[in-house]
Subunit: 730 residues, 2 copies
């Protein structure tokens, strides 16, 4: 890629970004778009324009607001998870800023004043002296082999590493305190009083599973056991429930339509009708309101019968056990209960809204096998996807494309089109391609048998990280030699370092463009929310009848960490790995993470609504992966500098054990409080209050099994129990 | 080594064994030797000859008694640890017996009827057809390369592996139940109510450590916290205490001497005197009884003062916290207390008698660093000791020895001496050599900062296992090529398999002799207890004055797992690895483990007294190492059979992942109950009884700090506390 297409690429990206920001500034001021740009504010009952009326009507008001919002505001709006995501972005930003402060003023002159490229070009053929760009001149490639200037590059790797350790240590501590603070508030959260029990053994024939869970936990926790809820297979009940809800919705819509028809020409109105056949297209025409009411009347007793059967006979071998104190639940979730570990395994209960009921009953061995199978599939996917990526890499040069597809000649030969295509084609192909994967990975992670949504998201993010690092980073870098690289890895593991070191410098410009495209276009789209805006307006115009429908149309969803985090991670890996090879990438990285932080903060404050709260459980995941990126960086740098015939390169080797030790110390010191609940965090409020235990129990009842009135919790519990009255009154 | 010296070796070993057994039979019947042969019985107040008087006076009576004793008897006498050691021996025995039943009748004829050795010899030179022994003829070496007979050897590896899996699974389950049973008895053991707390943070200046421990645990466990005991640096108090005890002992002895002198010639007796200078050789002569009484009078107030200072001012940042219920202590020991893991780390308290006070106060990071340092030293030791072992291997043939040390010619050239030396020299050198190591390893393991004696023993046993496997097994096998082997490992890890496969068959005879020597001579000495017998009689004659002195002279000690287990493990590794290469080793292995089991059972029932009880905590350690031996075996067999140009050899490769999966499943299912205390095991007796908590507290008070009367527990506790009266009365 020459300098012209690089600049074109940057400029077009920038223009798109500016246009999108302008679009956002214009659109977000129109009251009709408020549900798209301020859904979070609306849901919390706030007026989105309140701030603006007080004089902040400037187009950059959102920036000022985002900057001035404190972490407490973020936690209050988006929860600890969102705050932790922002800390992740700002940590990476700090790493890059601190690195850049030293690396840019030192390395750019050191590289720029050398002339390895000129000499190499001069040696090959005298005339093509302009074969290299300014970009290449300011990179490691321009330093002559064996030159003492390489010490500057070598020490820079140390600087970047120490900056990373320092920032990560600070951030881990900060996040740990944030998590502790969030968990030691006096708010009563049902999951703090509950424990998830799996692998319940088969009860004796005269007992239900509920009875055996009750007697087991009452015996082991006589003072603190409150009651238990056995997981049930409620798919059938849920189906009937959904049917009833569907009919209720139809009635609501039909009533709105009926009322509207009344106010117009005919005062008696037209009763809405629909056909009962396939998709409402064929079959008998019926009065919607009457028909649905009949259906509901018919279904309600069916649901009640099914509820009874579900509660009593469809019990699964898993349960949620409630304790009357936080510390009791925290202790119980960390204590080994059974002598054989394949029975009565306990863990912290997930939040009610993020629980994955269908996974609760999976047995311990089944979970292990599923995990192995899923990881095999992921491994195959990672390797299999290499094929198309390799193809894209091979087609990177338009010349090759034209040769292979001659009918494109007409288009490609036009100069402007050619420049744009050359700048974007490979990157666009890559980005589109990556959009297909996350759903598959979420699906696979769910198959593993993980009982909570947040853990599933983490598992999917982990898989996606493998994918992007292997395929995008390694794939593009090593390019068409990928399969020979695989062979190398198998035969001679250290060989891959040499191979990477050989290929890395060549892809620097590609990744510069990639990062720029990602943040200009990606963040532009994110901020302007064009897609949700269009969908919302279309839906409101043609589909929504009731208020509930409209609300559903603008429901903002959450941040989608499962793709967001690994994509950021990819940028972390790229920027770290090129930070010394081509220091010019650092400003791009800084731009990516500062813009990302700003826009994410805006979106957290105004748009997204968290669908669950894991209290920053994502942080150790991010931390480990930043260190993994650092390790890839350190390893490749040993090879890159060695290839420059600089034999002090092994001076870098101590960095690798250093990173491992750093990771181990962080893991030892901070991780336990993320995996388990520390007693000192939860025990503070335990004796001061008597929480409403019934409410907590009710929070876990699935919608389709909920008794009509909340006083019926006892009835619900008795339905699960074989003995109709409980053994001991509590 | 030729057949003659092999048979000589076997025969002499056997003769020594028979002589030792006869010596045992004769000596153990003499009542004066009872404290040597029946100390365990005497300590439990039983009459060693009771059984014999009832008609079992036969010389093999001990065998009958050992065979008839049930596991319950063993647990009652030697504790669960001894029972688990016997299970380990019998498990290995079962593995070998089951393997032998199939391997011996199948492999011996298959190998014996082939003629690879004859052909190879014939090819080299026609006359030396007797260059190989019957032993070699009955081994894998006699099967021709590429022959289909190798299928039998290949399938035998599968058989041995499956037998091992089966037996180990059964044994793990059995041990787990044994452990659970031992822990769910209603006996009140102090360690079940206690938790060891380390890494206590520095308290605020107005609090002692005791106060901060108390307030922290009272806040987190308001209902179940009983009291706490802070670890102190009591080395100085202990020194004074030991001095007082020494004087008391001297007085007791002097009184016996004085009384004896009275009964003889002079009725007024001679008062015993001694010199107070260096070793009692120089200085003023004093009346022992008076002098010592004066000293004691002088020291007692000093001790009391030192006790007070120790309790209050020498508190260490570690404590033992007592709970008033077993289940509370079990939960607390498994629950994360602090948000940062480097503060308030908790674990199960060790038994009072096995606690290592000096290690309690070591901080978490210090422990990590110590561990790394110790393992580095151990690694260097393992590698450094290879040098002498290699030298021994090189000198194995007497011819070489004679060449190098010509003055030995006179001795060596005599035929009988030559044969005996040839048979024993290398093995003896090895055995003597191995005797030096265990104390060093125990010392190193203690340096790691492990808080309990039993864990130290396990850590030392683990190190010793590395040592014997690397040095004895690999060292002897690969012999002088050891250093080239190290280079191979570093450059090309799979190369070591080929190297082992090449060298293994050659050392078969050496190891046959080694195993035989170990069990004939080793077990003969063990059973006859000649060394303790001689020491006891010498001591009783010349040193012992009082009853206590005599008791101390025959104190039997415990089984010494730290050397016993790794030595047995070495035999397991050797026998497994040669089971298919030279199946004749199996009967030797069977003899080793059956004799070992019999003699160990006898010694457990009559001799050794356990010095602590870890409830079979050693089992997972043994289990893992048996699987490690199996993995070494499987890996080498792939190489050995491949070297025979048998290209179905990779059929064995699936065994390796199979072993790993087996190990993982066992670890997952059984291990947690060994590392932690399952609630269901301890909760059974909790509510039925009200244990004497003061007695438990007292059990942990070190001897030198013990208050005179037991009612003074409160005084002891108050001495540690800053506030003289406790905050809340319990």
């Amino acid at each position: 890629m020459d300098l012209a297409s690089f600049v074109t690429s940057l400029l077009t990206s920038f223009v798109i970004f500016v246009v999108l920001v302008l679009v956002f500034t214009w659109l977000s001021r129109r009251p009709g778009n408020a549900p798209v740009y301020y859904p979070s504010l609306l849901l919390r009952g706030l007026d989105p324009w309140e701030g603006r009326r007080r004089g902040t009507r400037s187009p950059v008001g959102w920036i000022r607001q985002a900057l001035s919002a404190s972490e407490t505001d973020v936690v209050a709006t988006g929860g600890v998870d969102a705050a932790v995501y922002l800390i992740f972005l700002s940590s990476v930003l700090s790493i890059l800023v601190f690195s850049g402060i030293v690396l840019l003023p030192v390395l750019l002159p050191v590289a720029g004043t050398d002339n390895a490229l000129e000499r190499a070009a001069g040696l090959q053929n005298g005339k093509t002296r302009q074969n290299f760009t300014e970009l290449e001149r300011l990179a490691l490639g321009n330093v002559q082999a064996g030159s003492l200037r390489l010490w500057a590059f070598l020490l820079s790797v140390y600087w970047v590493s120490f900056v990373t350790y320092f920032v990560l240590w600070k951030s881990y501590k900060h996040v740990s305190n944030l998590r502790a603070a969030a968990r030691s508030t006096s708010d009563v959260k049902p999951e703090e009083f509950a424990v998830l029990v799996r692998d319940v053994p088969v009860p004796p024939p005269d007992q239900t599973i509920k009875d055996s869970v009750d007697s087991y936990f009452r015996a082991l926790h006589p003072d603190t056991f409150y009651r238990s809820m056995v997981a049930t297979d409620h798919t059938k009940a849920d189906k009937i429930y959904q049917e009833i809800e569907g009919h209720k919705q139809k009635i609501a819509r039909a009533e709105v339509v009926y009322a509207e028809s009344k106010t117009s020409s005919k005062p008696e109105g037209t009763k809405p009708t629909h056909r009962i056949g396939f998709l409402g297209l064929i079959g008998k025409k019926v009065d919607t309101i009457e028909y649905c009411n009949d259906k509901i009347k018919e279904l309600v007793p069916k649901l009640e019968a099914e509820q009874k059967i579900t509660l009593c006979e469809k019990q699964q071998r898993a349960a949620i056990v409630f304790f009357n104190r936080r510390s009791a639940a925290a202790s119980a979730s960390q204590t080994l209960h059974a002598q054989m570990y394949d029975r009565w395994t306990v863990m912290q209960a997930p939040e009610p809204r993020e629980i994955v009921w269908s996974n609760l009953s999976k047995k311990i061995y089944e979970r292990q096998i599923r995990q192995v199978v899923v990881y095999t599939i992921v491994f195959l996917t990672v390797v299999f996807y290499m094929v198309p990526i390799t193809a894209i890499s091979a087609l990177t040069t338009l010349e090759k494309l034209r040769e292979k597809l001659p009918f494109l000649k007409v288009v490609v030969d036009q100069k402007e089109i050619k420049t744009v295509l050359q700048a974007y084609l490979p990157q666009l192909a890559l980005i589109v391609f990556l959009a297909l994967l996350p759903s598959l990975l979420m699906f696979l992670s769910k198959l593993e048998g993980i009982p909570s949504q947040s853990h599933t998201v983490r598992a999917a993010a982990g898989k996606y990280f493998y994918f992007v690092v292997f395929n995008v980073f390694l794939g593009v870098t090593i390019g068409s030699t990928l399969f020979s690289a695989l062979t190398t890895i198998i035969n001679n593991p250290p060989g891959i370092i040499k191979m990477l070191a050989n290929s890395l410098p060549g892809s620097a410009t590609f990744f510069l463009t990639f990062v720029a495209l990602k943040f200009f276009v990606g963040y532009g789209l994110e901020l302007s929310r064009l897609v949700p805006l269009i969908i919302f307006h279309l839906k409101r115009k043609y589909l929504c009848k009731t208020e509930d429908d409209v609300k559903a149309a603008w429901a903002p969803g959450d941040l989608g960490y499962n793709t967001r985090v690994p994509n950021d991670m990819l940028i972390v890996t790229i920027v770290l790995c090129y930070s010394v090879i081509a220091p010019l990438i650092i400003p791009f990285g800084v731009a990516y993470f500062s813009l990302g932080w700003l826009i994410a903060k805006n979106q957290v404050l105004r748009v997204y609504v968290p669908s669950y709260e894991s209290n920053g459980r994502m942080w150790p995941h991010m931390h480990t992966r930043i260190i993994a990126a650092l390790l890839i960086y350190q390893t490749t740098m040993v090879g890159v500098i060695l290839l420059k015939k600089f034999y002090y390169s092994p001076v870098l080797v101590p960095l690798l054990p250093m990173s491992f030790i750093f990771a181990a110390i962080c893991h030892m010191r901070f991780y336990p409080a993320f995996a388990k609940t520390p007693l000192e965090v939860v025990a503070q409020h335990d004796l001061k209050e008597t929480p409403n235990m019934d409410a907590m129990y009710t929070a876990y009842i699935p919608a389709c099994l909920k008794p009509e009135k909340l006083e019926d919790v006892d009835i619900f519990e008795d339905a699960q129990s074989h003995t109709t009255s409980r053994a001991t009154p509590i």
